[in-house]
Symmetry: C2
Subunit: 187 residues, 2 copies
DNA sequence: ACCTGAACACCGTTCAAGT
DNA sequence: ACCTGAACACCGTTCAAGT
């Protein structure tokens, strides 16, 4: 299969070119993968498997927060596999996508991450006011940022470090509340 | 002008429909705005003005970190004005975009935010290992998340609160370093 | 049964012709 | 000088015809 196109050109790569590269007619491609998302799903299935496997492994490790950190790093790498994938993941995780093809993979990823987050939460290492979806979304958004604005080598690690720090319970975490004034008005 | 289309349909709204709504030929639209980005730029110019103005105002306020927080909230609102705008902002801020039409607006926003960040940094309230672009990108990514995965009402405030907390200097901020093992390998 | 690619639709972009 | 929309290009999607 020619998944190279997505890696090269991003998730929006022309389907007819993919078909041509694969040496089949465009109709054949459509019959195997009725939607673009179905094709994407097939291409990331192994990555999802790996994330789930890694989740199981890490669930038995010593420190819950270190485990979560390592898993989120793997998730960011996964979401950055081709351009546009992070957006699909976030949309699928929320049900905003037109298609349901990624829903299953997404649920599996959420499950794997959820177990690690639950463990960290039970250990009191996770801020209680952050939910699982927030954390997954933030990880995906790091992949999105590096997709659109690759700046320097340490960017991914630095941003992930910030997010991890933000979601971790700190003894002094009292200040820095969001400004109350400009909350979303009814409009 | 028919900017409503972008608000309704996102930044990718069909240009011919915009022209038709505006009661002009598609050719006329192209002559006024040679690229889509040029049109976007015209539509957000007032928002950029407002952000710059707000930046000046806040530069004189008492607490540098509160000022930055309020400004970032305004930036998130601005970037969420229509779907896809956050991506344009991030791309323009990095020079990854095909077009240069947004570069000027972007530089102005960066300038306004940069002044507030510099003040917070001088006051020792900003983590020294985070740069300006990281913060702008994170704010844009919050707008992006709510674009793609609107979950609940408090989402924007909650995520922004996390990011603010993450970039703030805390007395105890020592742990939660990014995992060293899975740094981006040469591949 | 499976594959193919022509055909249609949609949208971006240009440019010759009209005023 | 300015505007118009037909014309072309590109890509997604379907489906009648071929094997």
């Amino acid at each position: 299969v020619a998944l190279d196109a997505f890696v090269e050109q991003g998730i929006g790569a022309p389907l007819d070119e993919i078909a041509r590269r694969a040496g089949v007619g465009i109709g054949t491609l459509y019959r195997h993968f009725p939607t673009r998302e179905a094709l994407v799903d097939a291409l990331i299935r192994d990555g999802v498997d790996e994330l789930c496997h890694k989740g199981d492994e890490l669930a038995g490790s010593a420190d819950p927060m270190d485990a979560l950190a390592a898993w989120l790093r793997a998730l960011v790498d996964h979401a950055a596999r081709f351009r546009g994938l992070a957006a699909s993941i976030v949309a699928a995780g929320c049900g905003t996508d037109h298609d349901q093809a990624l829903a299953d993979s997404c649920a599996r990823v959420n499950g794997a991450g959820g177990a690690l987050m639950a463990r960290a939460r039970e250990a009191g290492q996770l801020r209680p006011d952050v939910d699982d979806a927030d954390i997954i979304d933030l990880a995906a958004s790091i992949a999105w940022i590096t997709d659109h604005a690759p700046r320097d080598e340490g960017q991914t690690d630095r941003l992930l470090g910030l997010v991890l720090d933000a979601i971790t319970t700190h003894p002094s975490a009292a200040g820095a509340a969001p400004p109350a004034d400009r909350s979303s008005a009814p409009e």
